[in-house]
């Protein structure tokens, strides 16, 4: 009953989808991390004009399903005259989601540092910028790595959602093959396997890094 032939014949097409999956993931990770760091530091700002909007953006992007954000950007924004294609819509929605979560990771990492570090830096006469650059951020970066890697894995998996609005990547490639061949089980299992092959090493490595954190700071 299980048709291996269908898998072998369509594997190249699936792999062509993987290219887009990885491209989308990388784009989102880079954009999201960059935006997220800015948002994260803004959340800690003493200036209300910076802090409140940052908090708002982070809450909206973190507390709503990514798919909703994709739908809003792809289907809803044309009402404002902004018409984006499927790939850019997915990229922007996911980048916002990534940014919101990265901001939370940044805030969490900085909050987890002992207040004594802030005290010591201040008592030595450092101003805010010096304190952040030389004392706080170097230590916070170390603590951001495990949750950030978890986020990256999640983002790779979430690229599958782009298929729902029609963007071409691995999942969409699978759907197209199934439309032609009707072998849902075989194809989806292979698609799942490909995602697994991409994500598992990342999870494994994340766990190792987490364990390593016991030594040092």
């Amino acid at each position: 009953m299980f048709d291996f032939d269908v898998i072998i014949k369509n594997l190249p097409y699936l792999l062509s989808g993987v290219k887009f999956t990885l491209a989308l993931a990388c784009l989102v990770i880079i954009l999201g991390t960059f935006l997220g760091m800015i948002l994260g530091l803004s959340k800690l700002s003493k200036n209300i004009l910076i802090r409140y909007p940052a908090n708002l953006i982070v809450e909206i992007t973190r507390d709503t399903p990514i798919i909703m954000q994709m739908f809003f950007i792809f289907f809803g924004l044309p009402a404002l005259g902004i018409r984006l294609a499927t790939f850019p819509s997915a990229a922007i929605a996911m980048s916002l989601f990534a940014a919101g979560n990265t901001a939370e990771i940044v805030r969490g990492a900085i909050d987890s540092l002992p207040t004594g570090q802030f005290d010591a830096a201040k008592s030595l006469g450092m101003n805010y910028l010096q304190m952040m650059i030389y004392v706080i951020i170097p230590q916070a970066l170390r603590r951001m790595i495990p949750p950030a890697m978890g986020l990256f894995t999640t983002l790779i998996k979430d690229t599958s959602l782009a298929a729902i609005i029609g963007a071409f990547e691995l999942t969409r490639a699978g759907q197209e093959i199934i439309e032609r061949t009707f072998h849902s089980l075989e194809i989806y299992l292979v698609v799942a396997a490909i995602y697994f092959i991409i994500c598992y090493p990342l999870s494994y490595y994340t766990r190792k890094v987490e364990k390593q954190r016991v030594t040092g700071f």
């Binding site: 010591a120 008592s123 030595l124 230590q139 700071f217």
Partner: protein, 241 residues
């Protein structure tokens, strides 16, 4: 040198400081004792503006701390602080811990900063640990590095917030030794501590605080042996066993 007048400070509903007034002279060594919650650490942290006071004034060498025109970072360059938890920067080597603020805040060259750092490490007795990282050092060694780090800024005043309270007994002595030498050299020091022996030996004045107020102050001999206030005597009898 330090003039504190009518300091009031509260944390939410808790009134930590209830009108504290005292003056600390140049080269004076003042030890503050008292039960936990008496406000002694809070008072100390107000002196370098780690805590903002609600009411009152603090004037350091003629510069009012609470004046908005005062550059608090410049004032902090002249005040060194040593913490109960050491607060060394774990991601930097011992040497870098001591040179970082020198270079970035005092704007010294890295050669000069390193020279001063190594001199101070020698002074506190651990010159060989310059390239180690804090986690490789014992508590006593870490605290001595913390003292060197504060001294490297060449401050006019040194504040110590229970510097030995987090140390194992065998290591308290080495840190107190460094502090005693510092006092003998004429540094202006304000020390919050439970080490009565240290106070007896080195303090010019001992201040007893309770419930956010200065209850009594005087020379160590007078205070320890002839305390005037009931509360002082009760506290001392419990601590000096």
């Amino acid at each position: 040198m330090i003039e504190a007048r009518d300091i009031y400070k509260s944390f939410g509903k808790v009134q930590a400081l209830n009108g504290v007034t005292t003056t600390i002279q140049k080269a004076e060594v003042v030890v503050i004792i008292g039960p936990s919650g008496s406000g002694k650490s809070t008072f100390l942290r107000c002196l370098n503006h780690l805590e903002k006071i609600d009411r009152g004034s603090i004037i350091i060498d003629g510069i009012p701390l609470t004046d908005s025109k005062t550059d608090i970072h410049k004032v902090r360059e002249e005040i060194g602080m040593v913490f109960q938890q050491f607060n060394l920067f774990p991601h930097l080597s011992v040497l870098r811990n001591i040179t970082l603020a020198q270079i970035k805040v005092r704007k010294r060259s890295s050669e000069q900063a390193e020279r001063i750092a190594r001199d101070l490490l020698r002074k506190v007795g651990i010159p060989e640990k310059a390239d180690n990282y804090p986690f490789q050092l014992s508590g006593g060694q870490q605290q001595r590095v913390a003292i060197a780090r504060a001294l490297a800024m060449q401050p006019r005043i040194m504040l110590f917030d229970e510097p030995t309270s987090a140390l194992d007994p065998e290591m308290i002595g080495e840190v107190l030794e460094v502090m005693k030498n510092l006092a003998k050299e004429g540094m202006t020091m304000v020390v919050v501590s439970h080490e009565m022996g240290f106070a007896k030996e080195v303090a010019d004045r001992v201040i007893f605080m309770d419930e956010g107020k200065i209850v009594e102050e005087g020379t160590p001999d007078r205070l320890f042996d002839h305390a005037r206030e009931e509360r002082t005597r009760t506290f001392l009898s419990r601590v000096l066993k």
